[in-house]
């Protein structure tokens, strides 16, 4: 019974569309006045009628909207109207609440949800702006915009062919965006999709594929970057340095905390943060460094943590001359037991567990740091701090090889990622 009623309703919808079309010529149609196409419609009525069937869905949007409110954007023929909806909804800050408001606004406007495909497309585009691109609730809300049970295939022919392709594609689009942001659908998503498109529809299959792969990939990265990066630059530096160092025994030292102070003379003093890392192995290596040879401070080098770019500096020695490279243990060293075993076992072809490492001639890196400022004075403070644990540095000349990199990088990254969306997305996440 239910489906018959729905069938009738669907018929009514399409019939209504036809009625609307047919009625259109007779009406005043003030929204068409002044449009360049107005004239060309009249001379070819036959074509118009034909197109009404084919284009009905795509033209539905302005038509439907036109019934109630007259949107300025219509005349461009673009999808701007829905953008407007969002523009009006936020009125202040762009938040999840504002976004939801926009969606609700659309849903309340029309029982039939006319133009939902376009609206959903617009909403998907707008999501990052509102910082809700990683919010599962919002995705579900968007899916909820689809009229329910209308697009469910009812017979084998419908099932065989692409039933309501535009709607199905749109549904897939929503899931794809979720996929791109790594959002795992939940039961509600499934329920909605089943309600909207029915079993074995393309969006449901997409959902199934997502649910197959996502749990498999969820923990594939053994070194995940935390979802919300810390805002404190010292903490951020700590995380980044530990990521690069990849040595659990390495110790992070905060040489200087960031500080802004007004001195007695009224001058503003800013003290950039300096955070360094050094492992015991590096310390040992540095202790064996020949003080006659200089060590170099080099940088800045970029490190990307998701969308954030941080810069680090390294303390590096020259590549070792071959004769100093390996300490040869004299076989006649220890009277009682061998200090060195001659055990060069080849590995079998089948258990080669080593990665191929392309060894570039490079000096040993003795320490790394991140600083609030990349000038020599700041980095010299770092070296000074390092001297306490590495006395050899006080006898070794330190050469600064600094490139004016960060500023250029900053500009490039700004233009690439566009606007201030990064901090905003952070804020959003912290709210969550």
């Amino acid at each position: 019974m239910n489906c018959v009623r729905k069938l009738l309703r669907a018929r009514g919808l399409s019939a209504g569309r036809g009625i609307l079309r047919q009625a259109a010529p007779g009406r005043a149609r003030p929204w068409l006045q002044g449009s360049s196409c107005a004239q060309c419609v009249w001379p070819v009525p036959a074509r118009r009628i034909r197109s009404s069937a084919a284009l009905s869905r795509s033209e539905l949007v302005p038509t439907a909207r036109g019934d109630k409110e007259k949107d300025r954007g219509f005349r461009d023929g673009s999808l701007v109207p829905f953008d407007e909806l969002f523009e009006r909804a936020h009125e202040g800050d762009r938040t999840k609440a504002a976004f939801s408001r926009a969606v609700e606004l659309f849903c309340q406007r029309d029982v039939r949800r006319r133009g939902h495909v376009e609206f959903i497309n617009a909403a998907l585009r707008k999501m990052p702006e509102f910082g809700v691109e990683r919010d599962l609730d919002v995705y579900n809300k968007i899916l909820d915009v689809f009229p329910k049970e209308v697009f469910v295939a009812r017979n084998f022919i419908q099932r065989m062919f692409n039933h309501y392709p535009r709607q199905q594609e749109c549904g897939i689009q929503v899931l794809e965006q979720m996929e791109n942001y790594g959002i795992m659908p939940n039961k509600q998503t499934k329920f909605l999709l089943l309600q909207i498109f029915g079993e074995k529809s393309h969006p449901v299959r997409k959902y199934q594929r997502l649910m197959y792969w996502f749990p498999k990939f969820k923990h594939v990265n053994p070194y995940p970057v935390p979802a919300a990066l810390p805002r404190d630059p010292v903490d951020l530096a700590r995380i980044s340095l530990q990521r690069i160092a990849a040595d659990l025994s390495a110790t992070v030292t905060v040489y200087q905390r960031p500080l802004t102070d007004i001195s007695d003379a009224g001058k503003e003093i800013t003290q950039p943060h300096i955070v360094g890392i050094q492992s015991p192995d590096q310390q040992e290596l540095l202790a064996r460094h020949n003080p006659a040879r200089p060590v170099f401070v080099e940088g800045p080098f970029p490190l990307w943590l998701k969308k954030t770019c941080v810069y680090y500096y390294i303390l590096r020695g020259e590549p070792l001359p071959p004769e100093e490279k390996e300490e040869v243990i004299d076989s006649e060293r220890n009277l009682y037991y061998p200090m060195h075993l001659d055990l060069d076992l080849d590995r079998g072809l089948w258990d080669d567990e080593e990665f191929y490492v392309d060894e570039v001639v490079e000096g040993p890196i003795s320490a790394m740091c991140m600083a609030g400022a990349g000038d020599q004075a700041t980095l010299a403070k770092w070296i000074l701090g390092l001297q306490q644990t590495n006395p050899i540095l006080s006898q070794t000349p330190v050469v600064f090889h600094l490139t004016p990199g960060p500023r250029e990088f900053q500009v490039a990254s700004d233009s690439e990622s566009g606007e201030e969306e990064i901090p905003q997305s952070w804020r959003m996440k912290q709210e969550l």
Binding site: D330, E332, R333, Y337, P338, H340, L341, D342, D346, G348
Partner: protein, 656 residues
């Protein structure tokens, strides 16, 4: 050696196990448990070989792989590969010819009597030197030249004969033992091993009579076991006729008595190939008469007070080039070989000490009455006495096994010698400690004479390579050997066609190990059937040990050198296994020869094997797990904390 290895096929094993009662030519079973004909044991061994030949198909492959692998004949080395190399250990070797035995018997009586009647260990200890009449008596007995060939004035004893006499010395007075040992076990051992005929002729006759006493000068303030930090130098003269020796050595036994020194010093040695001059260690024979040799006052020590220990200084000593021992620059090898070939004597001496101490403990336990009962009837005392007896039995069996192996001309005895030194010194310490415990307050008093033994014994765990360092030697030497074996296997894998036998054998071994069947080695041919359960424990122990070693080797590779926590445990396992095999061998011989003490020895052997096997599984099984690693980490951090705070970290519980 192959006599003990099972061929992979089941049929072969069936072939080898003839039905009971069928007395065919190959039936090599012990007919009934008791009694035995004395000769049965040896014939049985021969039969085992015969049988192997009779087994047909398997033997050619086996012998081929053996030659291909070039394996060491040492049992201790073999067990690191999970193998039973029984050639050296089964049957328990008896190497003395009738003549040698007779000669030894004639010596044992007078030497024992001498130590009972002439030598006074308490007096030596309080005088802090060996009494003159004792010294004189020892010289007359020929005790200073036991192993010097007769034509050069010595007694020309074999290692086994030497061990027997040293045991008597150890039984009575370790201080005198050190004086004699420092003289002949290390002092002039270099001369015996590496000396030219001229050098030997010149010095050995005087050394044999004790007219000249020798000392071994290796240790320096900065150099214990690190040959690289030897500071004593010997500069060659421009003409090449002599070397000028400068430097100081410390803690030299006999340093104040000796007139002849084996000195190790750095000399510049030119590398023939590259023409580069490098500092290398060279051994020299230095006479006090060369001038410039001085010694410090005798050191004040905890034990072995009767022996003389002093610093020796060399200032501008001119040593003729003819006195270089071995080739120039080969001093390291000389030192190592001298130390290695002297170690077995220590185990023998300590076996003697234990015998004496156990005698005292038993005497007390059997005569002391408490609560109306002799104390030897109390379980606490019984356990002590039993363990003391076992420890003695192991040490003694090891000492004579190794000396016999050396007399047989074995090249690989270093690991076994190190094991015997570690085991002997620790066993003797425990035994003496328990003896004092049994004797109670009586043992603590000087009059009982055991506290002196205890003090004397302490040094044995320290000198000639501390036990900790020798454990590293045992483990690392074994790992190197097992690694070589793995490498040979890898090479064989590269040309599988030519090495089918070897590969098949190794594959079977590993598959069996994986399947939990054990390696299929059987000791049925060499061990007396009464000891089968113990032999089975040994086999399982060796399987476990071999598997653990291989696993560790693959896990750590070369870095195993730095894993001393692991190495120590592996060495402990090796020591236990070697002790087991030595006991099995000796008890088998006793049983086969139907010696009167055979049943007692069987008891000792079985008890030891049971406990050792349990100990072995407890030590080795966790090694590959994370649990052990966790413990090691914790131990390491406790030690670090203690070092960092310069002592105990936690404060007094009272808070002040």
């Amino acid at each position: 050696m192959r006599g003990a290895r099972a061929a992979p096929g089941l049929c072969l094993r069936l072939l080898r196990r003839p039905p009971r009662g069928s007395g065919g030519p190959l039936a090599g079973t012990y007919p009934t448990p008791l009694p035995y004909a004395t000769c049965l044991y040896s014939t049985h061994a021969a039969e085992a070989v015969l049988e192997k030949a009779g087994a047909g198909t398997a033997s050619p492959t086996v012998s081929k792989t053996k030659s291909l692998l070039g394996e060491s004949k040492s049992f201790a080395m073999g067990m690191f590969q999970g193998r039973m190399t029984t050639e050296q250990v089964f049957p328990y070797p008896s190497v003395l010819t009738e003549e040698q035995g007779q000669f030894l018997k004639e010596l044992v009586g007078p030497v024992s009597r001498f130590f009972q009647e002439v030598n006074d260990p308490a007096a030596n200890d309080s005088l802090e030197r060996v009494e003159d009449r004792t010294m004189q008596g020892l010289k007359e007995l020929g005790a200073f030249g036991l192993q010097i060939p007769p034509e050069l004035g010595g007694l020309g004893l074999s290692n086994t004969q030497y061990a027997r006499l040293v045991e008597i010395v150890g039984l009575h007075d370790l201080g005198v033992g050190i004086t004699l040992g420092a003289h002949q076990s290390i002092g002039f051992k270099g001369l015996l091993l590496y000396g030219t005929p001229q050098q030997k002729e010149k010095y050995l006759p005087r050394l044999a009579t004790g007219e000249t006493i020798a000392a071994f000068c290796l240790t320096e303030p900065a150099s214990g076991s690190d040959a690289a930090s030897i500071r004593t130098t010997a500069r060659p003269s421009p003409c090449g006729a002599y070397y000028t020796l400068d430097g100081g050595k410390i803690w030299i036994s006999n340093g104040g008595l000796a007139d002849l020194f084996t000195v190790f010093a750095k000399t510049p040695v030119k590398n023939e190939a590259t023409g580069e001059a490098k500092e290398k260690v060279t051994a020299f024979i230095v006479e006090r008469a060369f001038g410039g040799v001085t010694h410090g006052p005798p050191e004040k020590k905890m034990g072995i007070k009767a022996s003389n220990t002093a610093e020796v200084h060399f200032e501008g000593v001119r040593v003729p080039a003819a006195n270089v021992l071995g080739p120039p620059g080969a001093g390291f090898k000389v030192a190592m070989n001298v130390l290695n070939s002297g170690r077995f004597g220590m185990a023998a001496a300590l076996a003697g000490t234990m015998r004496g101490v156990i005698g005292k403990a038993v005497e007390h336990a059997a005569s002391r009455t408490q609560f109306g009962d002799k104390i030897h009837n109390f379980g606490a005392i019984q356990e002590k006495l039993a363990r003391m007896a076992m420890l003695h039995y192991v040490t003694e069996s090891m000492a004579y096994m190794i000396s016999a192996n050396m007399d047989q001309g074995a090249a690989d005895f270093q690991t076994e010698a190190a094991i015997s030194k570690i085991f002997g010194s620790e066993a003797a310490w425990t035994v003496t400690d328990e003896c004092i415990q049994i004797m109670g307050g009586m043992g603590f008093m000087q009059d009982a004479g055991v506290e002196r033994v205890m003090r004397d014994l302490r040094i044995f765990r320290i000198f000639e390579g501390t036990n900790d360092i020798l454990r590293l030697f045992v483990a690392l030497n074994g790992f190197q050997n097992a690694g070589n074996q793995l490498r040979r296997l890898q090479q064989a894998l590269k040309s599988p066609v030519g090495n089918v036998g070897l590969l098949a054998q190794e594959a079977t071994r590993r598959l069996r190990r994986k399947a939990g069947w054990g390696s299929g080695i059987t000791l049925r041919d060499v061990v007396h059937p009464d000891l089968d359960p113990s032999a089975e424990q040994l086999v399982r122990g060796v399987d476990l040990f071999g598997a653990t070693v291989e696993e560790l080797l693959l896990k750590y590779g070369k870095k195993i050198v730095d894993e001393q926590f692991v190495l120590k445990r592996v060495a402990d396992g090796a020591i236990d296994l070697y002790a087991m095999v030595v006991l099995l061998s000796r008890a088998s011989r006793s049983l086969a020869q139907a010696q009167p003490t055979a049943q007692h020895e069987k008891l000792l052997c079985e008890t030891w094997c049971e406990e050792a096997y349990e100990r072995l599984t407890a030590t080795l099984s966790p090694l590959s797990s994370d649990g052990a690693r966790h413990t090691f980490r914790q131990l390491r951090s406790i030690s670090r904390a203690v070092v960092e705070s310069g002592g105990v970290v936690s404060p007094n519980p009272l808070g002040f």
